[in-house]
């Protein structure tokens, strides 16, 4: 698309005329003075407020957008632009020049650079304007909202919840370091209520769609007066306005300076922890004055260091909600299990451990490092039980299999790290085969151990790491779990 520029007013045109330009070549496009008498479109307002969208993502004709622009309610922003001979994507923040490519563009009829980093959200190039809302904001009117929840918080949860309320007032940042099964979601309730009562916009962001789908109904049930909006790739109603959004971190690319409070759940989970563009997305979705809460059971080393050196506000919840200590993993050396597996055998120690549980009808969740080994491991155990399944990330019936495990229809579920977090089974023991594999980082191992003993009725699950050589990750994981238990005991948080 090209723009005709007359008296600082941009008009979209598809024709190539001498006086037209790509949005990237227009110096500092500014909003027009606002015309208070203009009858603006409320649906457009609710769709666009706080976002940067492509014209293709807005279900209104370009002429409507132009009208709103003329009267000062919308703005055309640069999508991809060149700053000091380097390209920059204003949607995903990408500046890696290898992720920019150019082509002869039929829209602007010139060579046009585009960003490959966020291509899955639709191409954004030098001639692609990002549309934003510059009119008045919607009135949110959530100041009379009530939290509908009468559960009780544990002492650890209570402390974290109070700290979170303070942070919202101070508009600063807080790390909530809560062990697996501490009940992180309940910690958030009071803080969210407080923010909503101040008519603030709140977002809970997480790297995983599974978590969005699990959290949304829980929050909807405690805030029945508002519509809690789940946002993920392909979700419906994405265009609606909501005071409380549960979103994947990917979807935050579309939001700019939108939220007064962002709660980032599972900050250490893939892909957020590796993908700097997602971290950019979260930061740019915040208003300049806003509060940020980071939630994790397994902060990485640099965050742990920040805590130790008091560079960041943080609060720990070292005990589980049910006040029993975390199961501590036991290490068992099992030799070169991969070599044995080639001969369709498993180490005796592993076989004995699992058979013992099959005999006493205790469910087992077995983690293995490679998908390729799954079928072989499963076929070995098939001689002792028919109630077993395997599951991995691209398994189309993943949900059904997890459901079968929950309903106690399986004795053994063999999985990759895909089930390391976010799932709760009532009464299981957990084993890792090949815990020395580098895929099992210390945080992965802590999360895996955290699958055991989650319910009050069965707080003592067992965790076994079968390995061919102890790794620092294994040692670190065990140490961190023991430290949490120690801290919980000292603070009198255990029964």
């Amino acid at each position: 698309m090209r723009f005709l520029i007359q008296n600082n007013l941009l008009t979209p045109t598809t024709k190539t005329i001498e006086q037209t330009k790509k949005i990237a070549d227009i110096q500092n496009p500014k909003p027009q003075p606002i015309n208070p008498a203009f009858p603006y479109n409320k649906n457009l307002q609710s769709l666009l407020q706080g976002k940067y969208l492509l014209l293709d993502e807005i279900p209104f004709p370009t002429e409507d957008i132009q009208e709103h622009y003329i009267h000062g309610y919308c703005l055309y922003n640069k999508g991809v632009e060149k700053r000091q001979s380097a390209y920059l994507c204003n949607r995903c923040g990408n500046t890696n020049q290898q992720y920019f490519a150019s082509f002869r563009c039929a829209r602007c009829q010139e060579v046009c650079f585009y960003c490959r980093s966020c291509i899955m959200m639709g191409r954004i190039s030098e001639c692609t304007p990002l549309i934003s809302w510059t009119g008045p904001n919607m009135e949110q009117n959530t100041n009379n909202i009530q939290l509908h929840w009468d559960g009780a918080l544990s002492s650890g949860q209570q402390a974290a919840s109070e700290k979170m309320e303070q942070i919202i007032d101070q508009q600063s940042e807080l790390l909530v370091w809560a062990v697996c099964g501490a009940g992180k979601t309940e910690v958030l309730f009071k803080g969210i209520e407080k923010a909503l009562k101040q008519n603030k916009r709140v977002c809970i962001a997480t790297p995983r769609t599974d978590v969005v789908l699990e959290l949304a109904p829980r929050l909807q049930s405690v805030f029945p007066e508002i519509q809690v909006l789940p946002v993920y790739g392909g979700s419906e109603d994405r265009h609606l306005y909501s005071p409380l959004i549960i979103s994947t971190t990917h979807q935050l690319f579309r939001f700019k300076q939108t939220f007064d409070l962002i709660i980032l759940d599972e900050m250490d989970a893939f892909p957020y922890s590796y993908d700097t563009s997602l971290q950019y997305a979260v930061q740019t979705a915040r208003k300049p004055n806003s509060a940020m809460i980071y939630l994790t059971a397994t902060p990485n080393r640099s965050w742990r260091k920040k805590c130790q050196q008091n560079q960041i506000n943080y609060v720990t919840i070292p005990a589980r909600y049910h006040k029993h200590p975390l199961p501590v993993p036991r290490f068992t050396w099992c030799g070169n299990w991969e070599k044995q597996l080639e001969k369709n055998k498993l180490p005796q120690a592993v076989v004995d451990w699992i058979k013992e549980r099959l005999d006493s009808r205790k469910q087992v969740l077995l983690f293995i490092p490679k998908i390729a080994y799954m079928e072989k491991v499963a076929s070995i155990f098939e001689q002792w039980t028919t109630h077993l399944e395997t599951v991995h990330a691209e398994d189309p019936s993943r949900k059904e299999k997890v459901q079968k495990m929950r309903k106690n229809q399986l004795d053994l579920l063999i999985t990759t790290t895909i089930l390391e977090r976010g799932v709760t089974f009532a009464n299981i023991d957990v084993a890792v085969l090949g815990a020395e594999n580098q895929i099992f980082t210390d945080s992965a191992l802590i999360q895996i151990a955290g699958r055991a003993g989650r319910k009050k009725e069965h707080p003592a699950g067992e965790v076994a790491f079968f390995h061919y050589g102890k790794t620092t990750a294994m040692v670190s994981a065990k140490k961190q779990i023991e430290n949490s238990n120690k801290e919980a005991k000292e603070k009198g948080m255990l029964i």
Binding site: A101, F103, C105, A106, Y114, G122, S125
Partner: protein, 231 residues
């Protein structure tokens, strides 16, 4: 640092003598992506290059698949498309890659396909990419067939035009067969008495290519064959 042109992961090219002595290829693919592309191999339909291995015997007539057999039965379409060559099976991976290329608009994917184009096939032939209507072209920003040819460095001529119609992928086979004269030849001088190769991204029912072939033949082409990335 080199990046895989499809998945953007880092690639370490092998630095051997071939690498130093040959002209450096401008595009790289990682081993993972290479493996997921499934080249069409084994016995194929002699007209459309569909692999015959997965077809039941009743759907094969003298080395020709049932679809092509039906086309050739019809006097109107008999011999219009001499032969089609395709590179890869249209598997889930390729579907994803082509969707990113065409619908998300990732032009660079053309570079990945260009690595596999057998250039000899196009020697002494007139190459004509299947055009898009002007509305569709604006929507996508580029023509996917032209993009691949451009990356492969194969010269082509743009003598076909297309009237805007509903997307092929939203039509049934019967509806696709009915659509006639979606293509027009603008300047026939370059194709008269020439062997023409049509170029497109996907061969699905063959209706698009046959319609274009018909238009070219009527405008004086000696023979028309076709080349697609996916089948």
């Amino acid at each position: 640092m080199m990046y895989c042109i499809i998945c953007l992961s880092e690639v370490n090219p092998v630095f051997n003598w071939t690498y130093f002595l040959s002209k450096e290829p401008p595009f790289y693919l990682c081993d993972g992506c290479k493996e997921k592309l499934a080249p069409i191999i084994g016995e194929c339909c002699t007209i459309c290059s569909r692999p015959l291995a997965d077809l039941e015997a009743v759907f094969i007539h003298d080395g020709v698949c049932f679809d092509c057999f039906r086309w050739e039965q019809d006097p109107k379409w008999k011999g219009v498309l001499k032969q089609n060559y395709s590179l890869f099976l249209y598997n889930d991976f390729l579907k994803e890659v082509i969707a990113r290329f065409k619908y998300r608009g990732d032009y660079m994917v053309a570079g990945a396909f260009s690595l596999y184009i057998p250039k000899k096939l196009f020697q002494n032939k007139i190459v004509v990419p299947i055009p898009l209507s002007s509305i569709r072209l604006y929507e996508r920003g580029f023509n996917q067939a032209e993009a691949i040819l451009h990356c492969a460095g194969i010269p082509s001529i743009h003598c076909l035009t297309r009237v805007h119609s509903e997307k092929q992928s939203k039509k049934s086979r019967a509806a696709r067969l009915e659509t006639s004269s979606v293509f027009a030849v603008e300047n026939n001088k370059q194709i008269i008495s020439q062997d023409v190769v049509l170029f497109d991204d996907i061969y699905t029912t063959g209706a698009t290519l046959r319609n274009a072939a018909m238009a070219l033949k009527e405008a004086g082409a000696k023979s028309v064959s076709s080349f697609t990335i996916a089948r």
